[in-house]
């Protein structure tokens, strides 16, 4: 068991490195300190993963320390003896599987940034933020309770805003960071509310349960205890809580996750991703808020199984977002926005998987997405710095001029396009098989109509994702760059090795990593990461494999052929649909709509209270003040002396009064203290 305590190190090493980096004078060395901390964390995470792989059947291990504690006593919702929020680590299959990927992707991004941001004025800041961001994400993955998840969740929001706003001197970057903070802030509030709601409803009952061995109290935020409580609520064993309690809490958690993962209707801030530096984009898309949302849903999955309507909602929202994101990725020409929308579509597929009960497939997709999304974003960084533009219509010819980057990009695109045999394919295959199976480990089903809709939308999303990924590759690697003023194609050079090496590590995972999770294989990912006590044993799904392979091959090859000028009839057929693409690219105009709503509802209201203050409250109070002023002036008229004189007079007056009071108090003042 003690090996699992190393999880503390995984969380604390990056945070400690972020602090320690301030000891070092030169920003570059500080960056290396952060890289070192993350590398150590990655090594430790691998050790934990290895140990856990050898002991699959062990129960989850969690250990906590008390952050603060006091006797709370009677609350409006019931008796709570002590209030003691805990922080700690939880090692089970889920966290052991996700931690190494988070650490590795963050490490790769940091190593890449050593070169990419070498001359950036904010080098130190970037590394500190990435270290804290990575540490917060690792802590969120290892979080044993809702309280810790909440505060790392908010930390992650701040980190995301700082990453997007890294180039703060661009007005657009600042605006994007603000927009992100407020949109994701809705999710933060939702999670805060879910935490509070759960505490209100369940904490008094948690206190009645027998404490776990070795503990003297029950933490009402603890995930395992919450799972017990949810089951008790479902069995009507908790007074004051019923199925509606479960549904409300599930909806709050779902809203929190949707806002964090930029799913509909919270997609608006994605356009701002164009302002983030490429490494920051990689972190945000691969291991940052997007996956944090899915991870929270996975952690609280028991609740959703008890409130099955929310599972259906999750699947449908995920599927719609996947289609919209994929179409938007196809329609966007800004490479960073394209990648952001592509990642959102992949995250939508994860939600679909969770919704139909394919728990392991969702987490598997989370990992593969982290690998190829990070790879693609870093490749985009190479291209942007070499070509000096983010518009893929002006890129081109990278295959000849930047061969290594182009090959890495190809690996990423094939994986992200879910093309057979690459990592993304196996996770998409598992998801499609999951939709066909449509049964959670606890045998909860999505309604047949919803399932058909979800299957249809998922197929469309997979087709379009393949097309979008391969279009990206074709546009960038084939052909010749567009002519622009001030751009000399001959000057385009391959990126330095320090940037290519971390990408190579990610590319290996993006190509071969999928082999760990082939659906139906005997020692597969689903055996290691699952919800509930026993691993489900799924058979091989030929239909899922064929559908996924057919769709991705069709979509990918169509995109490549279109890009190389063939398939004119298809182009003609698709032209009328460009309006749909634009609509999706603008994320269904949701950002504009919500901003107008906020503008009308809040910002336009803003002068109103000020006006009331100025015209009503101030005037009333002002009259009182003026009256007093007049009165005061009248009292002292005719004594225009200087200020110190006045002060002296006041002091003397006070002295006399104090003296009189003292005399009176001690009984020397005849008449006043006559009570004696």
């Amino acid at each position: 068991m003690t090996v699992y305590n190393l999880a503390w190190a995984v969380v604390l090493l990056p945070l400690g490195a972020a602090l320690a980096s301030y000891v070092v004078e030169s920003p570059r060395r500080a960056a290396w300190v952060c890289v070192g901390g993350m590398a150590l964390a990655f090594g430790v995470a691998i050790v934990i993963l290895g140990y856990r792989l050898g002991h699959i059947s062990q129960a989850p291990y969690s250990t906590t320390i008390t952050l603060w504690t006091y006797q709370a006593g009677q609350q409006p919702n019931g008796e709570i003896t002590t209030f003691n929020p805990q922080v700690g680590v939880l090692v089970d299959g889920l966290s052991a599987a996700v931690m190494p990927t988070v650490a590795f992707v963050t490490l790769a991004v940091q190593v890449y940034s050593l070169q990419y941001l070498r001359n950036d004025a904010g080098l130190r800041r970037f590394f500190v933020v990435t270290a804290v961001f990575g540490g917060a994400m690792l802590g969120l993955v290892a979080s044993p309770n809702l309280f810790q998840s909440l505060f790392l969740w908010i930390t992650l929001t701040v980190g995301s805003a700082l990453l997007v706003g890294h180039w703060w001197h661009r007005p657009a970057a600042g605006a994007a960071a603000l927009r992100l903070a407020l949109t994701v802030g809705v999710g933060d509030l939702a999670l805060l509310l879910a935490t509070i709601f759960g505490f209100t409803k369940l904490a008094p009952d948690v206190g009645l349960l027998p404490p776990a061995p070795g503990l003297s109290f029950n933490d009402p935020f603890d995930f395992s205890l919450l799972a017990v409580e949810w089951q008790r609520v479902a069995n009507h064993a908790v007074s004051g809580a019923g199925l509606r309690t479960l549904e409300v809490m599930a909806i709050l958690l779902l809203v929190a996750a949707l806002a964090k993962a930029a799913q509909l209707p919270f997609t608006g801030w994605l356009a701002g991703m164009a302002e983030a530096p490429a490494p920051a984009l990689a972190l945000l898309c691969a291991t940052g808020p997007l996956t944090a949302g899915v991870y929270l849903l996975a952690r609280t999955y028991r609740l959703f199984e008890l409130a099955p309507h929310t599972l259906t909602a999750m699947a449908v929202v995920g599927a719609i977002t996947a289609v919209v994101g994929a179409v938007a990725a196809l329609a966007h020409n800004d490479i960073k926005r394209l990648l952001a929308f592509m990642s959102v579509a992949q995250v939508g597929l994860m939600l679909v998987a969770l919704g139909v009960g394919a728990f392991s497939a969702a987490i598997f997709q989370l990992l593969t997405n982290a690998w190829f999304a990070a790879l693609l974003c870093l490749a985009a960084g190479n291209l942007v710095s070499a070509y000096g533009t983010q518009d893929i219509r002006q890129l081109g010819g990278a295959g000849r001029r930047m061969p290594a980057t182009a090959r890495l990009l190809l690996a990423g695109c094939l994986s992200a396009g879910l093309v057979p045999l690459f990592a993304g394919f196996w996770s998409a295959d598992a998801i499609v098989a999951g939709i066909i199976r449509n049964s959670s480990p606890d045998l909860v089903h999505v309604a047949p109509a919803a399932r058909a809709l979800v299957l249809l939308l998922t197929c469309v999303a997979i087709l379009v994702l393949a097309a979008a990924a391969m279009r990206l590759y074709a546009a960038v690697a084939l052909g010749e760059p567009a002519r622009r003023r001030g751009f000399v194609p001959e000057r385009v050079r391959e990126s330095p090795r320090l940037m290519l090496v971390p990408m190579l590590g990610l590319a290996v995972l993006a190509v071969f990593g999928g082999l760990i999770g082939i659906e139906g294989a005997p020692r597969t990912f689903a055996k290691f990461v699952h919800v509930g006590a026993g691993a489900p044993s799924y058979g091989f799904s030929a239909a899922g494999l064929l559908i996924t392979a057919g769709l991705t091959v069709a979509g990918g090859s169509a995109a490549v052929l279109l890009a190389s000028g063939r398939l004119g009839w298809l182009r003609g057929a698709l032209t009328p649909l460009s309006g749909v693409g634009q609509l999706a690219a603008d994320a269904l105009h949701l950002q504009g709509a919500s901003e107008r709503l906020v503008t009308w509802g809040v910002v336009h209201m803003a002068p109103l209270p000020v006006r009331v203050d100025d015209s009503v409250v101030e005037v009333v109070a002002g009259d009182v003040a003026a009256a007093t002023e007049l009165l005061g002036a009248g009292l002292v008229r005719g004594q225009p002396r200087r200020l110190p004189g006045q002060l002296l007079a006041a002091a003397a007056a006070m002295l006399i009064v104090v003296g009189a009071v003292t005399l009176a108090a001690t009984g020397h003042f005849p008449g006043v203290g006559a009570a004696r």
């Binding site: 603060w68 006593g73 703060w168 709601f197 803003a606 209270p609 203050d613 005061g632 001690t666």
Partner: protein
Amino acid sequence: MSDELIIHAAQGTLLALQWAPRALALAAGKGWLPQVAAAGPSGAAVTAAPAASPAPAANPVLTAPPTAAPTAPRTTPGTTPTTAATSEFPTILLSSLIWAALLAAVVILFLPERTKEQRDRIRIVGLAGAGVSLFLAAVAVNYEIAQDLLGGEVSFEEVHSWITSLPVHVDYHVAADGISLPLLLLSTLVFAAALVASWRVERRTKLYVVLLLLLETGVNGSLCAFDYVLLLLFLGLEIVPLFLLIAVWGGEDRMRAAWRWLCMSTLSWALLLAAILLIGFKGGQGNFTFLQINGAGGSGVVLTGGIATAAFWLCFAACAIRLPIVPVHTWFRGAVSTSSPPVAAIIAGISTTMGGYLLLRVVLPGFPAAAHRFSLPIALLAVLTALWGAVAALAQDDVRRLLAYAGLSQMSLVLLAVAAQSSIALNGAVLQLVAHGLSSAMLLLLAGGLEERARTRSITRLGGLAWQMPRFTLFWMIAGLSAIGVPFLAGFAAEFQVFLGSYPAHRVATVVVMAATLVSTGAVLWMLQRVFFGPAREAFARVRDAGTLELLYLVPMVVALIAFGMFVGRVMPMINNGVQLITARLSGG
């Protein structure tokens, strides 16, 4: 009207307002009262009062504590250890803390201020006085944290009989518990920071420093006072110095703001006086000691009926003006935006905190039944204030007015906790008072530095200042993030507990206040973006960043913000110890 005339007017008004009610009360008190205070050395046994004596509910107006024979007369000066803690610790700590500032002020009165060196000497003496207070507050907090605390104990208690021959019995009774100690640390820290921040004040330096120190004495005294009359005296001590500080060293339109402060604070003071007279004469039989009136575990006096309601609302209105709450908040934005930055920091960081402190110290324990009954109106006021401040902050162009409105929204959390009256929410409220005091004082000091350098405080005219002022930006971000409740800083634990404790009692109100915090977050971040980020501007090309002087007062405040955020596990048990006094009163009656 010239400055001088106005100052005369102030003094005249003040004297009238301060002494007239008191004289009236004394005169009236003689008529009202039976010969209770005639017992010379009064024997109001503080801790010896029977703990379990359910107050008989027969008397509609008041139920007095059992008039048991005093078992522990505590009138011998200096030898009154009433708790285990005080017997181990020199009991003059709080007195030294309170009077050190006044002592420094008296010394400064005799120092000349003609040359630069002489003025520097004045500042150093002033800072020494504030520094002694700060040091003692830190020692006291450190000592209290190290104690194994039992519910509702007070430490560092000093009781001396002071006025015994009047109908009104008044003690010099100071003590500190988990509520006052963190606030003492806050106030001494902010005053020391304000003194450093006003190092470059060259106009009437002597008067300025003396007034600041007088103000500090008043604030620290009212935080420690455990006797109602003493509390009133210390609160009254704050009014005139702050009036003069605004009126003499303020900026544009300062007289208006100063008058507004004088009116509102005197009104608040008078309301509190009226309420306390009601408590004292109707309930406490002329004894104004906290533990007598607010004793934990049912040993105190309970006002009932219409008198309790009236006294509750008087008290609440007094605190509402100070906090401030929406209908009576306009003095606040004027005072914050026109006074000099260190004074604005004191107003936003300390003066409002005093309002919250009085709510927790006087209103809740004094009127448990009424507070419970009027919980919903209080929650509604909290909602109104939160929304009002957050929305109005969006419309501001003046940095300081924006901070004032955002602060209004932040302080409504305290009011929400007072409405909820659960121990978790009240714990959060005390921490919120500290966190908000620190962050808003820091933000206003930073805003002062900003306008001193950029020569404007209009947000539309500022921009891109992070180019020239990276340190300022960093400090601003830390304080702003704490204000909006970001983890690892003091604000998070405070807001989390307030919301967690308030939700069960007032669900809708809590959710609305939460939404309002998102809006005020937006206002603060938007300002950050408009003031500091964006392209560099030619106009600010030669603006200096924070120098040694600024670091000298900013770094300790940042350290405190982070310390209260990181070591919340050490702080919360201490705070809860004080809160238990309130909750025992709320539940026990």
